[in-house]
């Protein structure tokens, strides 16, 4: 995958430890503009930690991560708060547990970022938020509170909230893992639309069908390392690493 542009996310030899346990063991990868990169692997393999390092929710002890040509963290040092906040505005984050703000209406959840951080006037921010709600199929929920929504609806609002900041890359941390099975589809549908529109995305997921269909690159993690990466046809069709094969066998036979 050659690109004339700089990668949006560039990780070099990222190391993260929790106590004695090495969660990420010199991980390197790149995400090019408009690329969809899906990270799969057994639980505890470091997928989520790697994703969380990409907006400094976790701070790696060694290595470097560059986002949109700005060094986010290098050798265990995160850039100063001001620059960090500015950089985070360009990186949308979607969590497994949604993390919507329960005291704000759906509309306010989406507009609070643009209004307070980008100083967008209320009317303009609300018009943009309504358009985003339309896009995720929740136009009628603008005035609802998160507590009244289903899991799938919450996650779609969370995606709209992240998109409202007009990010250059979106990070998804197991976005459907907390959902009832019948609600997974509606969230994946929104993510597919985003991918089709050319959004750069880095996604941790257990949805193999989705990975196969949407990913440009699939990275397989195990024991804190990327053990294999390549286009989905290769990873799912002819995995070269035996650990990839046993992971896929276990996951796919289950469903």
């Amino acid at each position: 995958m050659t690109s004339p542009q700089q990668p949006i996310v560039l990780a070099r030899d990222v190391v993260k430890r929790f106590g004695d346990h090495t969660v990420l063991d010199r991980v390197s990868f790149a995400v090019d503009p408009s690329q969809v990169v899906v990270i799969i692997g057994p639980s505890g393999s470091g997928k989520s930690t790697l994703l969380r390092c990409c907006n400094a929710l976790e701070v790696p002890e060694a290595g470097s991560i560059t986002i949109c040509d700005t060094v986010l963290v290098k050798d265990g040092v995160v850039i100063p708060d001001r620059a960090l906040n500015a950089l985070r505005m360009q990186v949308g984050m979607v969590f497994q547990s949604f993390n919507l703000f329960p005291h704000l209406s759906v509309l306010d959840n989406i507009t609070v970022g643009p209004r307070t951080l980008r100083k967008v006037p209320r009317a303009e921010a609300e018009a943009a938020a309504r358009a985003l709600l339309e896009k995720v199929g929740l136009a009628e929920k603008a005035d609802a509170y998160p507590g009244t929504l289903s899991g799938g609806q919450k996650q779609r609002v969370a995606i709209a909230r992240a998109l409202a900041m007009k990010p250059r890359v979106m990070l998804f941390d197991e976005p459907t893992s907390a959902l009832d099975p019948e609600l997974v589809g509606e969230v994946l549908q929104v993510m597919k639309t985003l991918a089709r529109e050319g959004m750069t995305m880095l996604i941790v997921t257990h949805e193999m069908g989705f990975a196969r269909e949407v990913a440009d690159v699939v990275m397989v993690m195990d024991g804190g390392r990327i053990i294999e990466q390549g286009p989905p046809e290769q990873i799912f069709g002819a995995p070269s690493n035996p650990r990839t094969r046993s992971f896929l066998d276990a996951v796919i036979s289950r469903t």
């Binding site: 500015a86 985070r88 949308g92 984050m93 547990s97 005291h103 609070v112 951080l117 009244t148």
Partner: protein
């Protein structure tokens, strides 16, 4: 034994005035206590900021570990040795406010820490600073959770405020004692004083229950 409530009826104006002063002292010290409690509570969120955390913890330890009456006397009778003469009402409010602040700080800290960690992560991920995330996302949610324990604190404060009668403040307790000093009807007057305190605390309790029900109906309290 015969009870004679005549001094109570004859002194209703004074008792009413005393009750008003009690409400004033309590309300003012609750406001002061909340302001102090918010600052101290936030200061005690992060043990890594050693100086701030240590100072705030020392405050809470000293205030909670010594009698309120001693603290009030230190302000009212102790400070004049340094030629600091504070008006009695001011001393009472300051003493009760400082005292209440230590307890409120624990309420504040508990409420903030009970907010899911994901809320701070989501706010910071949008690009908010720590202060913005606290102000816009965390504290508004925490305040709702503070209301029931703050109600208890308010009621405790109403009762504790009787101590300021010893600083010459003419609160409910003080007015009662003045009536006793001329009528010698201790039992009747103290019963009346107790009844008025009970009225104040149960009214407060009732109002707080209403607020809590409203918040629950609005879905803001889980």
């Amino acid at each position: 034994m015969d009870l004679d409530f005549t001094p109570v009826w004859e002194g209703w104006r004074e008792l009413g005035h005393g009750a008003l002063v009690t409400i004033e002292v309590t309300s003012a010290s609750l406001l002061l206590g909340c302001a102090i409690g918010l600052l101290i509570g936030i200061a005690r969120l992060e043990p890594k900021r050693r100086l701030i955390y240590g100072a705030a913890s020392a405050y809470v330890t000293c205030i909670r570990g010594t009698p309120l009456l001693v603290q009030l006397f230190l302000l009212f009778f102790g400070l004049p040795q340094f030629n600091i003469l504070l008006p009695a009402f001011f001393c009472g409010v300051l003493g009760l406010g400082l005292y209440s602040g230590a307890y409120v700080s624990e309420i504040v800290r508990g409420a903030i820490q009970s907010i899911d960690r994901g809320q701070m992560e989501a706010a910071r991920s949008l690009g908010m600073s720590y202060v913005q995330a606290m102000r816009i996302i965390i504290i508004p949610q925490a305040v709702v959770r503070m209301i029931p324990p703050l109600g208890n604190e308010f009621i405790a404060l109403i009762k504790n405020s009787a101590l300021v009668s010893l600083l010459t403040i003419t609160d409910l307790m003080h007015e009662g004692q003045k009536i006793i000093s001329v009528s010698y009807r201790s039992l009747e007057v103290y019963l009346a004083v107790a009844a008025i305190y009970l009225l104040l605390t149960s009214t407060t309790n009732f109002i707080l229950r209403r607020i809590e029900t409203r918040l629950r109906a609005g879905g803001l309290v889980q």
